[in-house]
């Protein structure tokens, strides 16, 4: 029989060994699958690493991919910190992307005759508000009616995607797209500049990093940050101490939704310039993984986002070279999440066999 016992104190060694053990475990599990696919393990991993981080080009692709992941990771971090389980970042991302295009691309590209200096902040604001509104409903329903937000936010994703589909075939359809369901494009003067010439990395990376630092500062230095952490850790005690629990949860919902909405706007402005139905390969869901990998630490989200992006990008290269399906990247990400969660558990509990 096996049992878990709470450790009296967490040793320093355990804190150091836990992440190392998690990495080793992940590599070992994924290696089995690589072997199964009939590829040499060492070379596969080397190719994956090289494809993700081995060259300037690899880094540029990884960072490009990391931008939306960091933002959705932040969205999940803010929400989960207050125990508001927002599974709807995917839908909020699309809502933000649509709002960005609605402000910055419709009206025959005239942009309401506004200067881009005014239109750009309007576009970002619209995206943030659109994302925030997506989460406001579930947060209020959780608070007033006790409706589980995991269910509502998850289901809203599907509604949003269907709505996007309708819009892309209707009012927002790009007439010059040869019948493809894709939205009109943003005005070109609203697009984000490139960070490095000849690559796809855009200044959205600066947005993502500075938002991560902002969230970190809010958590650490503000009353709202204390409220969020207190409500998440123990809502009853927080309420007793005078924290306005409902208001905090609503604030968290608005912030989290806004971050996911910005992820959509920044993807549009920085990479695609229009909305399609396959614009996000599940960035909203991967954001949850990234938040957990980062231990809900906003700065950790940057590292976790880059790591996951690197694995996803590297897997493409690796797949072309050795013929292991790119799904191995999903397995690595998933296994690393489980490994980190178990490792964290083991720093707090010990396993006893008898």
């Amino acid at each position: 029989m096996m049992r878990l016992e709470r450790r009296h104190e967490t040793s320093r060694a355990a804190l150091v060994l836990a992440p190392i053990g998690a990495v080793v475990f992940t590599m070992a599990v994924s290696a089995l699958l690589v072997l199964w696919a009939g590829a040499p393990v060492g070379r596969t991993y080397a190719l994956l690493l090289q494809g993700g981080f081995g060259s300037v080009f690899a880094w540029s692709e990884t960072l490009t991919r990391a931008i939306p992941l960091i933002l959705t990771g932040l969205a999940a971090t803010v929400a989960f910190k207050a125990r508001l389980f927002n599974i709807g970042a995917e839908g909020q991302l699309y809502a933000g992307a649509l709002a960005a295009v609605a402000v910055g691309g419709m009206h025959g590209g005239t942009g309401f005759e506004l200067s881009p200096w005014l239109l750009f902040p309007l576009m970002m604001l619209a995206a943030a508000i659109a994302g925030a509104l997506m989460l406001l409903g579930p947060a209020l329903m959780k608070n007033r009616l006790g409706v589980d937000e995991v269910v509502t936010t998850l289901l809203i994703n599907f509604i949003v995607l269907l709505g996007v589909s309708a819009l892309l075939d209707g009012p927002m359809k790009d007439p010059s797209a040869m019948g493809w369901p894709q939205s009109v494009s943003l005005q070109s003067d609203l697009e984000l500049g490139k960070l490095v010439a000849q690559t796809r990395v855009h200044t959205g990376l600066l947005w993502a990093v500075s938002l991560a630092v902002t969230v970190w500062a809010v958590f650490k230095y503000t009353v709202l940050g204390f409220d969020i952490r207190a409500v998440g850790a123990n809502a009853r005690a927080a309420a007793f101490a005078g924290v306005p629990v409902t208001r905090t949860v609503v604030m968290v919902a608005l912030l989290s939704g806004a971050l996911a909405g910005l992820a959509g706007a920044i993807e549009v402005a920085g990479r695609t310039s229009y909305v399609t139905l396959d614009m996000s390969p599940g960035y909203g869901y991967t954001g949850i993984v990234i938040a957990m990998l980062a231990g809900l630490h906003p700065l950790g989200v940057i590292a976790a986002g880059v790591f996951v992006a690197g694995v996803l990008v590297g897997a493409d290269t690796m797949s072309r070279a050795v013929g292991v399906p790119t799904y191995i990247a999903d397995v690595i990400v998933a296994a690393s999440l489980i490994a980190v969660l178990v490792a964290t558990l083991l720093t707090q509990y010990r396993v006893r066999f008898k």
Binding site: L224, F226, A230
Partner: protein
């Protein structure tokens, strides 16, 4: 007395990290005796019993029950060997009948029919044999606490327990119910059963046990025949040094009314009946400056509602509640602002946010005040840390420092942190002095609401908390002390009122009460007795 050894613990040692919870403890239990296991919280009583009952596995040592070794870590084996446990917090399903609760888990799941008739006969038989009258078909939810405890005992006996472990059984009982329990125990041991009676109350240990084993700091420090010992001797063993009984000092000067409740209800009579004890019914109470008003009562009779009402976490639905001549604000933050210090019953679940560091918990109630934040938004790091340090010093909070999570504090130190947070006024910045003091809660509290402030603390911490309450009273605060512990109520209360079924009796001077009168009032002697009682 028979001298058959029914239970033998041999060199039981259990470590949690660097903490030795049980250190080579050896104990015998004879047939037909009540062995009292005495010790303060954290002395290792619960750990030892959890090992016996199979919840924990001992690092060293062995257990023999009726001469046969007991396999470690297996509650089922313990049950089968005849060890029964009655936990302090009952493990009964409120929405099922007595019979259902007793049968639960005794029948194999794949049996097509439940043998209720046989079970009923057996239950009634057991009940009669041990003098524990019971109505098998009454729902648990409609029973009083004493009756529920009886069902717990019956549950153990029904499963054939020959050794019964009672964990702090009198904590939830009125004095009269405790007497009834002692009579039951006497009848059980007369029939050859053995009882381990866990307690930290010296009086009842002397009253009920044949032998006493005293634990302190995980070690068995003394074992004696109860007849050969005294209360002072037991206290000395338990604490390790001489104990001063808390001294009763009457209030010096009683001032004006600080808080007045007038016919306050938190439930309406329409939804009454079933949930008769949870809310307040037409409660009137006046709390005066410089006086401790103590509320006695069996837990679950509305004390929680009263404490929550005055802590800002529950609203009244009728009646008026006034504080300093104005309506009592139904919000914790505003109560704190206006000078209410609150000490909640459950310090782990409500008092502190365990995962957050000590310093944040120390200032959590006043974080929005201009003393601790700019524009109620940006936390002033220096001011908050300084105040946390002041609390740590003034209230002697000992732990791993201000940055450690509050969860890591011991119960006593956690309570000192909560006391300090509630009682110690922040030092006000010079510029803010003279401003509207509603925004600057820089004074000593006017009202202290303390709900079970000493529950589960060791004797030293109990004395400390009680002294602080008396000191605050002498400094002119009105103190409301809500406690299940009759000794505490009588030791501290200047006036005492008794709560039963959500109603509060008249607050009379403590000297006007006798223990017996309080006991009767706690049982609701003046109010109609609850129906559905199994007696």
């Amino acid at each position: 007395m028979n001298t058959t050894t029914v239970l033998r613990l041999e060199g039981i040692t259990k470590r949690f990290g660097s903490l030795v919870a049980n250190d080579a403890i050896s104990l015998d239990l004879q047939a037909g005796e009540v062995l009292a296991l005495l010790g303060e919280n954290g002395a290792g009583k619960s750990t030892l019993m959890s090992i016996l009952f199979g919840h924990y596995v001992a690092d060293e040592g062995s257990i023999e029950v009726f001469g046969a070794p007991l396999p470690p870590g297996n509650p089922k084996a313990a049950l089968a060997a005849g060890v029964g446990m009655v936990h302090q917090h009952f493990t009964l399903a409120d929405n099922l009948s007595v019979l259902d609760n007793v049968m639960m888990g005794t029948e194999p799941l794949w049996l097509p029919v439940s043998r209720r008739a046989a079970a009923r006969t057996r239950l009634l038989d057991v009940a009669q044999r041990f003098g524990l009258p019971v109505q098998p078909d009454v729902q648990i939810g409609s029973l009083s606490v004493g009756e529920r405890q009886r069902v717990e005992i019956l549950k153990a006996l029904y499963r054939g327990a020959r050794i019964l472990i009672l964990d702090e059984p009198t904590a939830v009982l009125t004095p009269q119910e405790s007497e009834a329990l002692f009579a039951t125990l006497a009848q059980m041991v007369a029939q050859g059963l053995s009882v381990i009676f866990i307690s930290h109350k010296l009086g009842e240990v002397l009253r009920v046990s044949h032998r006493v084993a005293v634990l302190r700091g995980g070690k068995l420090v003394a074992e004696a025949r109860t007849a050969d010992t005294t209360q002072a001797q037991l206290a000395l063993w338990m604490v390790g040094h001489a104990v001063e009984a808390p001294q009763r000092r009457p209030a010096r000067s009683v001032g004006d009314a600080v808080c007045v409740l007038d016919h306050v209800s938190t439930v309406s009579d329409k939804d009454g009946g079933q949930d008769h004890s949870a809310g307040l019914r037409e409660v009137s109470l006046t709390l005066r400056a410089g006086e401790i008003t103590a509320i006695a009562g069996v837990s679950g009779n509305g004390q929680v509602a009263l404490a929550e009402l005055l802590s800002g976490t529950r609203r009244a639905i009728s009646g008026t509640a006034q504080f300093m001549g104005r309506a009592l604000p139904p919000s914790p933050a505003r109560l704190v602002q206006r000078g209410v210090a609150r000490i909640p019953e459950d310090r782990h679940a409500v008092g502190v946010v365990g995962d957050l560091p000590v310093w944040e918990n120390a200032v959590s109630e006043r974080l929005r005040s201009p003393v601790f934040s700019h524009w109620s938004w940006l936390v002033k790091r220096t001011a908050t840390r300084l105040h946390a340090r002041r609390i740590e010093k003034a209230f002697d909070v000992r732990g791993a420092g201000l940055m450690a999570p509050a969860r890591s504090l011991s119960g006593g130190n956690m309570q000192k942190l909560i006391l300090g947070r509630a009682l110690l006024a922040p030092e006000q910045p010079e510029a803010a002095k003279g401003d509207d003091n509603r925004k600057h809660p820089n004074r000593a509290p006017r009202l202290i609401v303390a709900h079970q402030p000493t529950w589960g603390l060791d004797i030293g911490a109990v004395a400390y908390v009680q002294q602080q309450l008396i000191a605050a009273r002498d400094a002119g605060a009105a103190v409301l002390l809500i406690s299940d512990d009759l000794d505490e109520v009588l030791a501290l209360g200047d006036r005492v009122a008794v709560m039963h079924g959500g109603r509060l009796g008249e607050a009379r001077p403590a000297t006007a009460w006798t223990r017996e009168a309080i006991g009767l009032a706690m049982a609701g002697a003046t109010a109609p007795r609850s129906k559905g009682a199994a007696t």
